[in-house]
Structures are given as structure tokens and as C-alpha cells.
């Protein structure tokens, strides 16, 4: 367990040596020692619909990597900063800024990040967006802070897709929310189930499975226009869509030839081709980050296990060996970690495996349908407790956990979207 943990950390260290090397070394101790940071109230932030500094504080706190120091008054980005004084207050970094309403209705946020230890300015940004997207601006600043302090790109400004269902009312919704669960928008509303949403790599479309035709059929929907199209509706069941990293094609699971098998299809629905070949079940295909490998679940050896094969199909190699029920493979964006669900001792748990060493780590219990954050640092999953399903997030080292709560219904099938500008 600790081996995988330190492995992930050292990988992070190597990957991030290009910038902020000195701060990065502190990552090794982060899980035990959080980075103490002060986030001032931004000057005039009341002109925006939401308090930018509040959102930044919440993001940083949720990451588990920062310890946010309370009780900081208003400080704009133009204020003269006494680094030594902030250092003595226990802050290794200080965030200051201001908000302005522009004549065209947009809001403009200026911010600066100070390193109080080395007495330097680490970053400065000016961002402007329609006032409706105040939260996005705040998340982008949090992303910048996260990246400057850890060397890893932040994922606060990303979005997630999930299914909100109320079976009794026959109310099924595919919803899109910010990664913190706020700003919920309904992409699809249906009387029949919806499962398996999958973001296109550009963040503009979502593929999903809808049962509105009394059977599972795969749709791709443009989120902005609401235009949608069936991309696969073969005889039998059509499910488990997953995009190739370049967005040109998807891999899907179809039963057109009998039992469920893995196929490839172009993003416009053309060029359907079979990729896997077994007499049993092959399903839940997922491209690796480089697009060259497909991981999938197969019962060819008896119970379900995870296998991999070339993205063009052919022979498969078994990946999981512990436990008799291993499903739902997902690969991190750096290609180094596999997350999946394993049934051990009765329950379904979320596991992560370092693919190079095969070392396994149990991250969470009562978990299904995992999905990596685009920076590979967190995994969102569905968790069933007390008869209700909700979403939760765990860091890949297993140390930070949060629950995304909602008011009503069952929330399941999370899929974490890509980085977006």
C-alpha cells in the first residue's frame, strides 16, 4: 500500500521537475503535511454573483493538499505584501485579488499568488467572463494556484456528467455539473433509464446509453446545441461507449453477434468493426491515454476479469488476478495507474493498481463506476449507502475523501470531463 503511494508521489516528482522544482519536493510530504495557504477576500468581490475567494478556498480545501488559513481580510492584487509577516502567520503562500464589473456585463478578476517562504510572486492572472461564469473564473484561479504549488494541473474548472434518477417517478436525467457539484444543468431528461455517459476529449459532447427505445442504444449529444444522434443501434444491446483520446472514434460493447463483444466505431457512426473475440462477455472497453491499448472486462476465464488488447483488436492479455470479480477498468491520464472495481469479502471496492509493478491499493469501499479526474489525482465513483446512491471522490493515494451530496434522487454513473479552456 505504502509502496504504491510513494511510487505515485515519485512519479509526480519526476514529471514535474521542469517548473517549481523546489516547491514540488514538498509534495512528498503533502499527505501528512498540507501546504498552509492564506486566501484574502478579493477587493469588490461583491459585484459578482458569487464570492470568488470563497470558491477558491473551498476548492483548495477540498483537494486535501492545502490547509487554508482563516481570518484573512480584503487584499487586492495591488496591495504591498509583507512576505515575512505572512510567513510568521503560518502561511507559505498568499492569494490576493480583486473583482470588477465591466461595461459589457462581464466580470474581470485579477489575482496574484505570493510565495511567502521565498518572498516571491509565483503567479498573476487576469480573467474575464460573463458574470454567469463567475464560479468558473474562481475555479480557474484555484487551478492556477494548485499547478504553481504542486506542479500538477488543477482540475477544479472541469465538469462531471452523471445520472440523476428517480425510478418511482420515472424521471431520469443526464446532468452536467462543475467538479464541485455546483452549477447543475440537465443535458437529457427521459422516462427511461440512461447509463454510461462518456465525455468527448474536447468536452463538447457526451456519448451515453439511453433505453428510450425499449433497449440500450448509444447516442452522442452536443452539449451546447442539444443536437443528438444515434451512433450505434445494432440488433441487440448497444452500450459502454468510450472515446478514443483523439476524439475520432469510440469503442463500444454490442451484442449483435450473440454475447456482448467489443467493437470500434468512428465518431460519426460509420466504420463499425469488431475488436474482441471470445465466446463469453467482453465489455466496458476503455482506451489507454495514448490510445494504443484498450482495457476491458471479460468473463473468458470464468468470472469477470480485466484484460487489455491492442486498440486495433486481437489477442488479449489478462491484467487482474486477485479476486474472482474485477470489473470497470479506467486508466489514468498518464497511463500509469489502473482504477477498477473488485469484489472482495462480499462488497464492491475501488482499487488502484500501479501498472508497472502490479502493486494494488484499496481506495474505497461500496464503490462502483470509477472515473479519473483529468489530472489523474482523484477518482470519482458511485457509492450506495442506506439505499441511496451518491457520488464520492478519493485521491489516488486514498488519503483524501469527499462525498458529493445532492438533495434528492439517486446519483450514479459519474464521468469526469476533460480539461477545458
Amino acid at each position: 500500500m505504502s509502496k504504491l503511494h510513494s511510487l505515485i508521489l515519485s512519479v509526480g516528482l519526476i514529471a514535474g521537475t521542469s517548473a517549481q522544482a523546489q516547491l514540488k519536493i514538498e509534495i512528498a510530504g503533502i499527505s501528512a503535511n498540507q501546504i498552509p495557504i492564506a486566501v484574502a477576500m478579493f477587493a469588490d468581490e461583491g459585484v459578482a454573483p458569487a464570492d470568488v475567494s470563497d470558491i477558491i478556498r473551498a476548492d483548495l480545501e477540498r483537494s486535501g493538499i492545502f490547509k487554508v488559513i482563516d481570518g484573512v481580510a480584503v487584499l487586492s492584487e495591488t496591495a504591498i505584501i509583507d512576505h515575512a509577516q505572512w510567513k510568521s502567520r503560518g502561511a507559505d503562500a498568499l492569494v490576493v485579488g480583486s473583482v470588477k464589473k465591466l461595461a459589457d456585463g462581464r466580470i474581470e478578476v485579477r489575482y496574484k499568488l505570493h510565495d511567502t517562504v521565498r518572498s516571491t510572486q509565483l503567479s498573476a492572472l487576469t480573467l474575464s467572463k460573463d458574470a454567469r461564469f463567475t464560479r468558473v473564473v474562481a475555479h480557474k484561479i484555484a487551478d492556477d494556484i494548485y499547478e504553481k504549488m504542486t506542479g500538477t494541473r488543477g482540475a477544479f474548472a472541469t465538469r462531471v456528467a452523471y445520472v440523476n434518477e428517480n425510478r418511482g417517478e420515472r424521471d431520469y436525467r443526464l446532468e452536467i455539473a462543475d467538479a464541485d457539484g455546483e452549477s447543475v444543468q440537465v443535458a437529457v431528461r427521459s422516462k427511461e433509464p440512461i447509463i454510461s455517459p462518456s465525455w468527448s476529449p474536447d468536452g463538447g459532447k457526451v456519448a451515453y446509453v439511453s433505453f428510450e427505445q425499449r433497449k440500450p442504444v448509444i447516442y452522442v449529444q452536443d452539449l451546447v446545441t442539444g443536437g443528438r444522434k444515434i451512433i450505434v443501434n445494432e440488433k441487440g444491446s448497444n452500450s459502454a461507449p468510450s472515446w478514443a483520446p483523439d476524439g475520432s472514434k469510440l469503442t463500444v460493447a454490442l451484442s449483435k453477434d450473440g454475447n456482448t463483444q467489443v467493437y470500434g466505431v468512428n465518431a460519426d457512426g460509420s466504420g463499425l468493426r469488431r475488436l474482441s473475440n471470445s465466446s463469453g462477455i467482453d465489455t466496458e472497453p476503455q482506451y489507454s491515454a495514448d490510445g494504443e491499448t484498450i482495457y476491458f472486462t471479460s468473463d473468458r476465464s470464468g468470472g469477470p476479469q480485466i484484460y487489455k488488447m491492442s486498440a486495433s483488436g486481437g489477442n488479449a492479455t489478462r491484467v487482474t488476478f486477485n479476486g474472482s470479480y474485477n470489473i470497470s477498468p479506467r486508466v489514468s491520464s498518464d497511463g500509469k495507474t489502473l482504477a477498477w472495481i473488485s469484489q472482495r469479502d462480499g462488497g464492491y471496492s475501488l482499487y488502484a493498481m500501479d501498472l508497472a509493478s502490479g502493486q494494488e491499493l484499496r481506495l474505497a469501499e461500496q464503490a462502483t463506476e470509477p472515473s479519473f479526474s483529468p489530472n489523474g489525482k482523484y477518482i470519482m465513483y458511485a457509492t450506495k449507502t442506506g439505499g441511496r446512491t451518491s457520488l464520492a471522490v478519493v485521491s489516488v493515494d486514498g488519503r483524501v475523501k469527499q462525498r458529493l451530496t445532492t438533495k434528492a434522487g439517486n446519483i450514479r454513473e459519474p464521468n469526469w470531463g476533460p480539461f477545458m479552456n
Binding site: 447509463i195 451484442s255 456482448t260 466496458e284 470479480y325 464492491y348 463506476e369 454513473e413
Partner: protein, 174 residues
């Protein structure tokens, strides 16, 4: 859908009945019509009896018939049609063989335990088992489609063996 079918049946039956009644109407038709018929032969013999056959009730719509049973149940982690499901498969195969215009959707289901997509594939395995049994009894592929609803449309709500057993099922849907 079933309601629609029954409605279609009633409409058809009504059409048949009105067709049968047409000759009776000509008996009481206006004089000019009768004058054209009379030269054909002798006047109608009052002792003759025309037989009317009432249309048979489609056995599919008989709520007490064997075709009213449309669910095939499976054991835990099993994808083989049990003995108690064989009569269901046989009666529907017989009906489909006699009614070539009819098509069925065989919807496989699973209980709630496990992953969404793997359960969908397991439900497909159950639908496939029923489809293969029906194919073995001569039902052509063109009349059947095996699909899965996985764990998404449970018949029995809740957890526990009773609910799970009810949901390990394939339904034959016309």
C-alpha cells in the same frame, strides 16, 4: 403497446363483422338493387342458413392462456433456462411459428448487485439463452431480438433474495 394491439384486434374484428353483415343488408336493400338480383335465379329460400364463423380470439390476448406467461426466471449467477421456464419458451415459440408476422423483444434483466455495464452484459446472456432456446424450436431470427435492460428496470424494488430472484429474469415482449 399491448393495449394498442388489443385495440387493433377489436377494430379488425369489427371490420370482419361488418363484412359478414353486408349480405344481410342487401336483403333489405332498396327495390332497384333487388331487381338486378332477381333474374339470377329463384327467390331466396327462407329455410337456408348461412354460417358465420366468429373470429378466434388471438391466444396472445387470453389472460388465462399459456401465452400470458412471458417471464423466464434464472438462478443466481446462471444463464441457463430452468425447467420451469421451458414451457414458457415452448408456448411462445409455437405461437411465433404459427404467426410469422409477430416479432418479440427478449429483454434480459439482472439483480442490482455489481457494475452497471457488466450487469447489462449478464442480462444479455439471459436474453440470449431464451433466444437460443426459441431458435432451437424453429423460431426464425427475423422474429426475435435479444436485448438487455441489465439492472435498470427491476420488477421487484428493494434488496434481498426475494427481490433479486424476481429480477433475475428475461421477459418476452411483443
Amino acid at each position: 403497446m399491448r393495449n394498442f394491439k388489443s385495440l387493433a384486434f377489436i377494430v379488425t374484428s369489427a371490420a370482419l363483422l361488418s363484412a359478414c353483415s353486408t349480405p344481410m343488408k342487401t336483403e333489405v336493400a332498396p327495390v332497384e338493387t333487388r331487381t338486378t338480383e332477381v333474374p339470377k335465379g329463384a327467390p331466396a329460400e327462407p329455410r337456408e342458413v348461412a354460417t358465420v364463423t366468429a373470429p378466434a380470439v388471438d391466444p396472445l390476448n387470453d389472460p388465462k392462456g399459456v401465452l400470458a406467461k412471458r417471464s423466464v426466471y434464472f438462478d443466481y449467477d446462471s444463464y441457463v433456462v430452468r425447467d420451469d421456464g421451458k414451457s414458457v419458451v415452448e408456448s411462445h415459440s409455437g405461437y411465433l411459428n404459427k404467426n410469422k408476422g409477430r416479432k418479440v423483444l427478449i429483454q434480459g434483466n439482472t439483480d442490482e448487485r455489481g457494475g452497471t455495464e457488466y450487469n447489462l452484459a449478464l442480462g444479455q446472456k439471459r436474453a440470449e439463452a431464451v433466444r437460443k432456446s426459441m431458435a432451437a424450436l424453429g423460431v426464425p431470427e427475423s422474429q426475435m431480438e435479444a436485448v438487455s435492460l441489465g439492472e435498470e428496470k427491476p420488477k421487484a424494488i428493494g434488496s434481498g433474495e426475494a427481490a433479486w430472484a424476481e429480477n433475475r429474469r428475461a421477459d418476452i415482449v411483443y
